[in-house]
Amino acid sequence: MKLSRRRFVQAMAVSAVAGVAGCRSDSVQDVDLHVEGLSWHKSVCRFCGTGCGVQLAVRGGRIVALRGDPQHPTTKGLVCAKALFLPKVVHSPDRLTVPLVRKNGKLVETTWEEAMSLVAKRFAQAIREHGPDAVAYYGSGQCLSEESYLANRLFKGGIGTNNVEGNPRLCMASAVGGYVSTFGKDEPMGCYDDIEHAGVFFLIGSNTAECHPVIFDQILYNRQKGRKAKVIVLDPRRSPVRTVADVYLSPVPGYDLPVLHAMAHEIIRQGWHDEAFIRENVTFKTVVDGRPQAVSFEDYVKFLEPFAPEKVAPSCGVKASEIRLAAQLFVEGPTMSFWTMGLNQRVAGVFANNLVHNLHLITGQIGKPGATPFSLTGQPNACGGVRDTGSLSHLLPYGRVVTNAEHRREMEKLWGCPEGKIPPKPGLHTIEMFRALAENKIKCLLILTTNPGHSLPNLTPYREAMGKQRKDKPFVVVADIFPTRTTELADVVLPAAMWSEKEGVFGMSERRYQLVEKLIDPPGKARSDFDILLDLATRLEKLGVVPKGFVSSKFRTPEDVWDEMREASRGTAYDFTGMTRQRLRKERGLRWPCPSEDHPGTARRFVKGEDPLLDEGPYADPEAKPGQVRFYAQKDKRAVVWLRPAREPAEPPDEQYPYILSTGRVLEHWHTGTMTRRAAELARAQPEAFVEIHPQDAKKLGIAPGDLVRITSRRGEAVIKAHVVPNPRPGMVFVPFHWEDDASLINLVTIDAYDPGSKQPEFKICAVKLAKA
C-alpha cells in the first residue's frame, strides 16, 4: 500500500495528538510502523512529580521515541507535550561531554583525573583547615534516590557536616512542614486513585492544567465522564484551571489564609463539621511562647470568630457568598485538595498547608476514597530522592531528624560511623547556605543536577557569591548535563549522565517508587552522579577526611545503595523493605509502606485495612476497625488542627513599589528551561519571556500588548514583553521564570524572604514598580 507523504505525516500527527490525549481518534487511519531494530522499554518521565509511566524506543544506542505507557497503573498511557520531546533533549548537541576546569578565568577542557583530583584536594583542604562545616552539598529533586542518599551519607556521616541541601527547599519545604506538623510525618496519605473517587476537587495555588497536565486530564475525565466532580479554585491568577471551576475565588495575593479560615468558620457555623471524626482523630493546638500548646475545639471556634466570611471578604478581595459556597461544596465531598507552589513558596507556606489540612480534618474528608489533602510535586524525585532520604540540612533518612539523638545513633550505626559523627544541629538551609558562601564561611560547594544561578530568588548576591573572582573565592563544583547559568560560575564543571543513561529510583508524589533503567550510554565522557560521588568519596577517604572504606568498601552499584536504603526504612513509617530491585524491574512502581516482598504496596496510609503498618510492627493498632483512620505518626495518634495566624507577605506593595509580582510556569517549559528550551518545537511554542499585566493596569501605564516592560524591585530589574490579559488581578503581574538571558531573568527581581518554619522563599509575592521600557 502506498500513501502520499502528506497523508502519512497527517496520520502521524493525529496519532501523536491522540496518544498525548490518552485516546484513539476514530477518524485516524492507524499507521503501524514496523521498524527494524527498535526495542521498547518501560521507564518514567523525567519532568514533573506526577511520575507518568512512559515507554522508550531504543535503536542503535539512541532513544528515538517516547510514548505513554498504557500499562502504567495510575497514569495509564497519558503523557504531556514536554515528555514527548525528551528524546531530543537527551541527544541535544549541547550536552556537556568533557570535564572543564577554570584556568585564568576561563573554563577549559580537562580529564576526569585532573578534575576530580582538584575537587577532592580543595574539599579536603577546606575540611582540614576550617572544619567540616566549611563544605556543603546542594542537590536536586532530579537526582536519582541512590545519588541523593549517597551524597547525604557522605556529607553527614562521612565528612560530619549537615550542610546538605537541595532545590526541593525552593519548592516543597512548606508542604513537608505542613505534613509533619499536622500528621507527624511527611508525604501524602492519599494517592492518584483518589482522583477517580473524588466528588469535589479543591485546587489552591496550583496551575494544574499547565504544571501537572496529566493530573488535570484525570480531573477533567472525572468531571466529564466519571463522578462529575465539582471544582473549587482558589488562586489570585486566572490560570487555565479557573475555566473548569464551579466556584472561583481570586483573593489578593497573600490573603488566602483568611479565606481558608473563613471556610472553616462557615463549616462550623453551619454544623457541617464531623464531630465523631474530630472526637476520635483530631487535637487542636496553638503556639504560645514558641511552644505548641493543646487547646479545645471551643478555643478553635473562638479563634475563628474574626474570620467570618463577611468580615474577611473586603480585605481578601473575595465575596463572602463565594466563600460560603466554597465551604458548602467542600463538605459535599469526597473532597480531594491539590496544591503546589502558590501555597508553598510563601513566608506563610507551612501555615497555609496547615489550614488546608484543617479543612479536611474538621470535615472528616480524609482517609476515604476520594477524600485527601494532596500536595503535588514539581520535580520527578523531590519526594523519594530528597524528602524521603532526608537530604536536607535538618533531616536524616525516612522521617528522622538530626536534632533527635536516637535518630542520629540509628543512622550512625547503619552507616558504620563513630557515635557523634553526625552533628546534632541542623546545617545551613538553602538561602543561608548561599549567604554563607557570600561571606566565605563555606569554602567549597558541590552542586548536582540543579541550576541555582538561575533559580534562587534575589539572584544578584548569590551569583556573585558563586562566581565573582575575589580573594578567597569559594570553590564551586557543578555537575550537569547542559551549560547553564550556574555552570558559567563554576570552578569545575562535570559532565553528567542523564535519565536513562543511568539506573536508579524516582519517587513521585503518591509515594510510588519507580525504577529508571539504564538504556543507553551517556555521551562523550559524561558520568552518572552516582559515579561522581563514589569517586569523590574514595578520594576523600584516601586524603583522610572521610573514614577509610566508609563509602568505597560498601557500594559498587546503585543497587548496593538501594539495599541499604531499604534497610534504613525498616521499622519506620516509610518501610519499603519489600521493594527489592527485582520487583522494581518488573513492576511499574510500588507505593510505600511496602514492608514485605509479598506486599503489593499501600494506596492509603493511616487507614486500617489498607496500611500494613497498622497490622504489624511499631505502629500496629489491633483495636482499630477496618476503614478507621489512625494517625500513628503522631504520638497520640491524632492529627493536629492548628490555630495559625494569617501571616501576611514579607513585602506588600507600597507607594514606591505598588504592584505585586508573582512568578510561575508555562505548559511548554520546565523550571529553568535548560531541557525544554533545547527542544525546538517547545522553544518555538513559547520562545520568550512575557509579563502578564491586567488591561486596567496596562492602560494606566500606557503599555500596549508587545511593549517591553521594565519590572523593578528593591533588588533588581528585568525587561520583558507585555501580554495584556485579564489573568492576574489588577495590581498584580505574572512572569514565568524559564528564560535565562539577563533581561528575562526574573529571579533578579524576586525576594529571598523565607518561611521561618520551612525556610522556603517567597517567590510568589514581592513588590515591584512597572514602566514601559
Partner: protein, 97 residues
C-alpha cells in the same frame, strides 16, 4: 478528520499536530471557528474539552505564528500543546506501508 482542506496544497509543508484544550460547553462552535482559519484542520478526540488540530504551513516559523497568533487567541481556547512537527520535504513523495 473534519476537514481535508489543508491537504489541498501541493507545496511542501510543515505539518504540526496540536492538542488543544477548549471550553467544553462551546466545543462545536470553537471547532467550526478554528476550521475557518487558513491551514488549520480539526479532529475529534474522546474527551470533551479536547480538540485535535492539524496546522499546515510553509515553515515551522509560520506554523508557530498561526498557533500563537491565531489559534491560541481564539476566546475559549484554553491551551494548545504542539506535540508533533514534521517537514514533509524530508520524506519521499509516497510512503510504502
Amino acid at each position: 478528520m473534519n476537514s481535508s482542506r489543508p491537504s489541498g496544497s501541493q507545496e511542501p509543508a510543515v505539518v504540526v499536530g496540536v492538542l488543544a484544550r477548549v471550553e467544553p460547553h462551546c466545543q462545536e462552535q470553537l471547532r467550526q471557528q478554528l476550521e475557518r482559519l487558513p491551514g488549520v484542520a480539526t479532529f475529534e478526540l474522546d474527551l470533551p474539552g479536547q480538540l485535535g488540530l492539524l496546522i499546515e504551513a510553509a515553515s515551522p516559523q509560520q506554523a508557530a505564528q498561526v498557533l500563537q497568533q491565531q489559534v491560541a487567541t481564539v476566546p475559549g481556547v484554553l491551551a494548545c500543546w504542539p506535540v508533533f512537527e514534521c517537514d514533509e520535504s524530508q520524506l519521499p513523495e509516497f510512503i510504502d506501508l
